[in-house]
């Protein structure tokens, strides 16, 4: 018996010893192969249907959680129908850095008081519009902040004391002491519509305020809002020159200035000191437009100061006395045209200085 088995076992060619095969077994095998093919097909189908969120280039807007805040001056019903408002938050000077890193100094230098933000989210989570409303204390600061962030060469519109610009996916707006930035996640018509709505709501709800007189005054003469500054003291390196409003003309050299004095005699004295100050640094160029002109001996530019009531005004650094006199004439006319009752008191602390 074992001998027999040995012979049968050690036949090299035989891989198995089965005497009978079953047709049904093979058919079952076919079914199993079919099932495997189905598994393979299912895997392939799953593979072809990826979860888009894994590779999507979502805008990703990290936000810190914030306490439930009052809306502050944010107008109600900012969002278009179908849009919703999210991430309402407010920041003060002590925690502004949480919201804005690295650039909080910019707003703080402009008298930052409070930042209110919100996100408008479109139907289905996209697109989004980020709102940042800065309370900068004074209209001058708001204008300064806006003009520093406007795209280069942009032509904002001035109306009703507000500056406004819609550019691509962004809205820049000032109204009174408020400065609003609204940036959309894309440039599509939905975002543009949302921005238009935002602009309209803010213009309607924020208190209108007359543009501060230096901006109006200098703006008429072609000075950009960003180039209007207030020098509390030591204007043009003159120890006596305090409380001076300066506007730099686009040529980058010529400055117009207005210095309110307490009363007319003091104004007269201040005007005389300006004249003396210019004379100290330069050569006399004679009189034009009723005032004496002096050429700065270092800069070779012409300067002079005049007076209207208790306002001292002047031109500093004009190309020559001819151009200067023309400017001074226009400035004088503008000063004279200032509405009565304008408040010439010095701006509050935190004003922009450059």
């Amino acid at each position: 018996m074992p001998q027999q088995g040995e012979q049968r076992v050690f036949v090299r060619a035989r891989k198995h010893f089965r005497p009978r095969y079953s047709v049904n077994e093979a058919r079952l095998g076919g079914l199993i192969l079919l099932a495997l093919a189905l598994v393979g097909a299912w895997i392939a189908w799953r593979g072809a249907h990826a979860d888009p969120s894994l590779t999507a280039a979502g805008p990703g807007l990290p936000r810190r959680s914030a306490e439930k805040v009052d809306r502050g001056p944010l107008p109600a019903e900012l969002a278009l129908p179908g849009w919703r408002e999210e991430n309402l938050a407010a920041f003060g000077p002590s925690d502004l850095y949480v919201k804005i890193d690295g650039r909080e100094g910019y707003y703080k230098a402009l008298g930052f008081e409070r930042l209110h933000c919100a996100t408008l989210v479109g139907p289905g989570g996209a697109p989004t519009v980020d709102l940042e409303l800065y309370d900068l204390g004074r209209a001058g600061n708001a204008l300064g902040a806006a003009s520093g962030e406007l795209p280069q060469g942009a032509q904002p519109s001035f109306q009703d004391g507000s500056l406004a610009l819609v550019d691509k996916n962004a809205l820049f707006l000032t109204r009174g002491k408020f400065y609003l930035r609204a940036v959309g996640s894309d440039e599509g018509p939905a975002v543009r519509a949302a921005l238009a709505r935002v602009k309209e709501r803010f213009l309607a709800s924020l208190p209108a305020e007359r543009m501060p007189w230096p901006y109006a005054l200098f703006g008429e003469l072609g000075v950009a809002p960003a180039k209007v500054s207030y020098l509390a003291e030591n204007a043009f390196s003159f120890g006596f020159a305090s409380n001076v409003h300066v506007g730099l003309l686009p040529d980058g050299d010529t400055e117009l200035f207005v210095a309110p004095a307490a009363d007319v005699p003091r104004a007269r004295a201040l005007a005389a000191r300006f004249e003396k100050g210019f004379a100290e640094y330069g050569e006399p160029l004679g009189r034009r437009a009723g005032v004496s002109w002096f050429k700065d001996r270092y800069l070779s530019r012409a300067s002079a100061a005049g007076r209207e009531g208790r306002l001292v005004f002047g031109v500093h650094g004009a190309a020559d006395e001819k151009v200067g006199a023309a400017l001074l004439g226009r400035l004088g006319a503008a000063v004279r045209a200032l509405p009565g009752g304008t408040d010439f008191s010095a701006p509050a602390a935190g004003a922009k200085e450059e």
Binding site: T55, A57, P59, D130, E149, Q152, D167, K168, V183
Partner: protein
């Protein structure tokens, strides 16, 4: 078996054995001689060293064409074309058959809207323009800070490049060899991402306008950072010196400054739309310093501050002229 036969066979046996021993000994000796290294010098690793072509990839300077071409508008494709047209047109830079390396800034895994990476639409427009000009091959390559695949995918640059007909070259460990940059202060010898440059004839950088925490602004010159490997994190010890070296290392055919978006704060990583504002401009130049200086003044809007120190360092080496205002600038509206 007779004695003679025995002796003959045993002699043969001995001779065969002796031949094997002698042959083995001789072969071992010869091998030892061939591998000799008496002072240990031969055994040290010798990394292959590579050089970029003398004069870099720059085209001939032109005395008549503007130094800067600035296109302002909304439509990236038109702006790219208009900006390049303003400095002589794509035909001046790329001839049919050229193999062009395009170097965008894809350093971070961020979506394009966040402004930390080159706008994919600008890359798409540039690649399409290059293909149109007859470039045989366009290779888009960068060595990002975060994982390359994810950066290229999430920034959208990969899709834009592939769709426009370019190849995307992602770096891997074997793609870096030591580049020699004669005259460089720090990177005279440094690992360089050479693979896209094998056989390349033209190089075009296309960089976004970004605030930068350390070097203050990252634009087309700083963009070459992404061609280096090795211990890049040492660069920050003299970032301005490094950027001046980068300008020396790479003399590009052309640089494009992608000012469609400006990351004006929280750079170079950004991460919030609040850090980005529209710039609506594309600048083309053969002089990366001039282009960057324009970006600093006009796009970042920091003209009131002095230029970052690397401008002066690079300019002192004659690598460009940051004083763009003294040169011819052609500004066009596009789209």
């Amino acid at each position: 078996m007779g004695d003679d036969a025995y002796l003959r066979d045993s002699r043969r046996h001995f001779l065969r054995q002796a031949a094997i021993v002698a042959g083995g000994a001789a072969a071992t000796g010869a091998l030892t001689w061939a591998l000799r290294d008496p002072d240990g010098e031969r055994g040290k690793a010798h990394r292959p060293q590579i050089e970029l072509p003398p004069g870099g990839y720059a085209v001939e300077r032109s005395a008549v064409l503007p130094a800067l071409g600035v296109a302002e508008g909304q439509d990236e494709a038109r702006m790219v074309r208009a900006a390049i047209d303003a400095v002589g047109g794509i035909g001046r830079f790329v001839r049919p058959g050229d193999v062009v390396v395009v170097k965008p800034n894809v350093a971070f895994e961020r979506s394009a809207a966040l402004g930390a990476t080159t706008n994919p639409q600008v890359v798409r427009a540039l690649v399409a323009l290059l293909r149109e000009a007859g470039a045989k091959q366009v290779r888009v390559a960068d060595n990002p800070i975060e994982s390359p695949e994810a950066c290229f995918v999430r920034s959208g640059v990969q899709q834009a490049a592939l769709e426009a007909g370019a190849q995307v070259v992602l770096p891997s460990a074997r793609d870096f060899d030591t580049l020699s940059v004669p005259g460089a202060t720090w990177i005279a010898r440094w690992p360089f991402f050479w693979r896209p440059f094998a056989g390349a004839t033209k190089v075009i950088g296309v960089a976004p306008v970004k605030d930068h925490n350390l070097c203050r602004a990252s634009m087309t010159t700083k963009n070459w950072y992404g061609l280096l490997g090795g211990r890049r994190n040492q660069f920050h010890q003299d970032i301005h010196g490094i950027i001046a070296d980068l300008a020396l290392m790479m003399r590009p055919t052309l640089v494009l400054l992608d000012g469609t978006r400006v990351l004006f704060r929280s750079g170079p990583t950004g991460g919030s739309l609040a850090d980005v504002r529209p710039g609506n401009a594309v600048v083309a130049s053969t002089d990366s310093l001039a282009a960057d200086a324009y970006g600093w003044d006009e796009l970042l809007g920091r003209g009131a501050e002095p230029l970052p120190a690397y401008f002066a360092k690079a300019a002192a080496r004659g690598l460009g002229n940051p004083d763009w205002k003294s040169q011819v600038v052609r500004k066009v509206r596009a789209g």
